[in-house]
């Protein structure tokens, strides 16, 4: 009898303990994310606003309790645009137990691709190089690749151009970052895209482009597609203005129209090139603060909340950073909502499920983010902007590249 009583008491006590445990709120979790990028060194002019965008959005997510009581801890390390330092940072992040990784440059993304595969860690780079996706399963580009952007731009030219086949020159960065889309554009031409690529120029550190512009002009080039960073484009635009070879409107006869993709444009280009940037055409998937959109309003409010200066607040790379952080937070939020553990594997699954009805609509882009096992380029939609009176203004409606889909 005594034994039965003891067992009963034990049962009751255990039930109380279990009941009390069930009533206790689950302990708040902290999820670790790593970001390695160029805060100093080459391209730090883009890296700094990008890092602030990531930092601010994660702060915002914590402050607004977007993940309930759970917190995000994003470690941000400078790699000075060097792959070996990126590798060191990545190893440090792995030691710290990150579940998601944000990378930056094309070189380091290509260099660490095998590590991402081995570690099975979902990675969102700031590089939109199409080659990042070759032989890789864990790299997710935030927006359509440079190739997609450039082919989209070429399609716009073929649509708007009047006359015979438009003659095009490419002005690219002398690296894998710059060279990446050249072959893809050539493939699109072979697939029927009606443009003639007259010359591909890999720029150096020239401070004068007179000879190059004269040569392109003598070859009858009508459009110059730029894929590099802002400063060489600004130098070229200034020279084109001085030589009077820049078109004052799209496709002006006998003149050259300059167009560029994501990293060529933005406010930094206008600041560097001044008046010469007028009528520069630029495409990206991000919304700009020079336009009245929900994304711009949220971005400016966030910048104000976290005390960012005007330059950062209005930078498209700040938008870029915010958007990448938005994808990360959304993937965690969705994983959490399904009651799954926040681990690499589940985040990877959740990112791959971000399509169709589950597509993610961050207001900072002109289209939805869609990922699947066969499509790891986030926003496919592009918007064309044009410099008008010293600011980028959208021109025409959003578009996606048809030929890019054909050549993939």
């Amino acid at each position: 009898m005594k034994t039965n009583k003891k067992v009963l008491i034990c049962y009751i006590a255990a039930s109380f303990i279990l009941f009390a445990a069930a009533l206790q709120p689950a302990a708040a979790q902290t999820y670790k994310i790593g970001l390695s990028l160029a805060i100093t060194g080459p391209t730090s002019d883009a890296g700094v606003p990008y890092s602030k965008g990531v930092e601010d959005y994660f702060k915002y997510a914590n402050d607004m309790k977007l993940l309930g009581d759970d917190k995000l801890d994003c470690m941000i390390k400078d790699d000075a645009y060097k792959t070996d330092v990126t590798k060191r940072n990545f190893e440090e992040f792995l030691d710290q137990g990150i579940e998601l990784y944000l990378n930056y440059s094309t070189g380091s993304t290509l260099g660490l691709k095998k590590d991402f595969e081995e570690e099975k860690i979902p990675t969102l780079p700031a590089s939109f190089h199409a080659g990042n996706l070759d032989d890789s399963n864990y790299i997710f580009l935030p927006i359509v690749s440079y190739s997609g952007q450039l082919i989209g731009l070429a399609e716009y030219v073929t649509k708007m151009h009047q006359g015979e086949t438009p003659k095009v020159a490419m002005f690219i960065h002398p690296s894998a970052f710059g060279r990446g889309p050249v072959e893809d554009l050539k493939k699109a031409v072979e697939a029927g895209l009606n443009i003639e690529i007259v010359e591909v120029v890999e720029h150096g550190k020239d401070l004068d482009n007179t000879a190059m512009l004269k040569r392109l002009s003598s070859k009858g080039v009508q459009y110059v597609f730029c894929h590099t960073v802002q400063s060489p484009v600004a130098t070229m635009l200034k020279d084109a203005q001085r030589l009077d070879v820049a078109a004052s409107k799209f496709g002006e006869n006998g003149k050259m129209t300059f167009l560029g993709i994501h990293y060529t444009g933005g406010n930094d280009l206008i600041a560097l090139a001044g008046d010469a940037s007028e009528n520069f055409f630029w495409t990206t998937s991000y919304t700009l603060t020079s336009e009245d959109t929900d994304g711009a309003r949220i971005q400016l409010e966030m910048a104000k909340k976290y005390g960012r200066d005007d330059k950062i607040a209005n930078s498209h790379n700040y938008t870029n950073g915010i958007m990448v952080a938005q994808i990360a937070v959304e993937a965690i939020r969705r994983t959490k909502a399904k009651g799954k553990k926040i681990v690499r594997e589940n985040l990877y699954e959740e990112l791959n499920a971000m399509n169709g009805m589950n597509a993610f609509y961050p207001v900072t882009t002109v289209g939805p983010v869609t990922y699947s096992k066969t499509d790891r380029q986030g926003v496919d939609t592009l918007q064309l902007y044009k410099v008008k009176n010293g600011v980028f203004r959208s021109t025409g409606s959003t578009f996606t590249s048809e030929y890019y889909k054909k050549i993939q």
Partner: protein, 364 residues
């Protein structure tokens, strides 16, 4: 020779053989082997994060390269501003194999010691070829010839699609007796490999310097006409000095490729050549132990300046580029200060410390 073989308070050499001993006393030998034991044992006792193990491995690889540069510039007196390109030759030798036969080929993953030696030999061939102008050129003119090799190397790698236009070429994970070396053991494994390579290189270099081939390097450095008059061949000596430097650099390049599991041009640029030269100067040109101090000092400085620049980068606006400027400023300042106040490098401090402890507890 001193009567007491364990301690010696002065030089008591009675024969050339005595003078050429690697270890002056038994105590020196004992300390050396105890130190080696510590180097081999500490990773088993303390757990170091992969990040720091990577940093340590990097320093060790730089030591291998600097032993070569020290033989070339310090002992033979031939300035090379293209040492990173020689390191690159070794790395790209491995990368070329990876491109042709695949990065997971058994030759790369299993026969890696052979690949490392092969890379060293190719480095030696390139070194000897680049050293040919040394037959006619001296001093700054020779330095410019090596600089041109650096430029040609960078241009070739950046332009040729075979070399992936400078972008990373992957190198597979190697195998050891216990199986494939995975990430958990990767950095410790390469620590032991590079440490073993350093010990072999150090013994090779110190023994070389005791032979007539080694002494001819110093003789040609000090006065090549006098060396010629003494029956040495200055031209051949210079070419062979370049080949030696190239060999060590090639080995370092292959080790770098295996450690990072990939080869990209950005690790072998002119900036890296200057950095190697700085390591040799700061460590102490013409001293073997300087080859250890230099990489240790410069890589540690790099790491500290990286941290400082990162902190500054978070504070200063990107437009000011102050954070970016910190790195070259600190680097340049260290070189200038060493050239001004300690041209003999850290190796000289080591010499003073050794002299002091030799007489201890008596006054130095």
């Amino acid at each position: 020779m001193a009567v007491n073989r364990w301690l010696a308070t002065g030089n008591y050499f009675t024969s050339y053989r005595d003078e050429q001993r690697i270890f002056a006393t038994h105590l020196n030998r004992l300390f050396f082997f105890a130190f080696l034991c510590c180097l081999f044992v500490w990773p088993l006792l303390f757990e170091v994060s992969n990040k720091y193990m990577l940093v340590i491995d990097n320093i060790l690889i730089a030591i291998v390269a600097i032993i070569g540069l020290n033989l070339l510039t310090g002992f033979a007196g031939l300035i090379s501003i293209g040492h990173a390109a020689f390191v690159g030759v070794g790395a790209y030798c491995l990368a070329s194999f990876a491109r042709v036969i695949g990065d997971e080929h058994i030759l790369i993953t299993h026969a890696w010691p052979v690949m490392i030696i092969l890379s060293g030999l190719l480095g030696a061939v390139f070194g000897a070829f680049v050293g040919l102008p040394a037959l006619r050129l001296k001093h700054l003119y020779l330095a410019i010839a090596t600089l041109s090799f650096q430029m040609i190397f960078e241009w070739t790698i950046n332009s040729m699609t075979f070399f992936n236009q400078g972008q990373t070429i992957s190198v597979g994970r190697v195998f050891w007796f216990t199986g494939q070396v995975m990430r958990a053991d990767h950095y410790v494994f390469w620590y032991y490999v590079v440490l073993t390579v350093i010990i072999i290189c150090w013994f090779m270099a110190s023994n070389l310097l005791r032979t007539r081939y080694g002494r001819s390097l110093i003789a040609v450095r000090d006065n090549d006409r006098a060396a010629d008059a003494m029956g040495m061949h200055p031209g051949l000596t210079k070419v062979y000095a370049f080949a030696l430097g190239g060999f060590f650099a090639g080995v370092a390049g292959a080790l770098h490729a295996y450690l990072y599991r990939g080869v990209g041009i950005e690790s072998f640029t002119l900036h890296h050549s200057i950095s190697y030269l700085a390591m040799a100067i700061v460590g102490g040109l013409g001293t073997l132990n300087g080859s250890f101090w230099g990489p240790l000092a410069i890589r540690t400085l790099d790491l500290q300046v990286d941290n400082l620049a990162e902190k500054a980068g978070h504070i200063f606006s990107a437009n000011l580029s102050l954070a970016t400027a910190l790195r070259p400023l600190a680097f340049g300042l260290v070189i200038v200060l060493f050239l001004m106040f300690e041209p003999r490098g850290i190796a000289n401090w080591w010499r003073i410390v050794k002299s002091y402890t030799k007489l201890w507890p008596f006054k130095y």
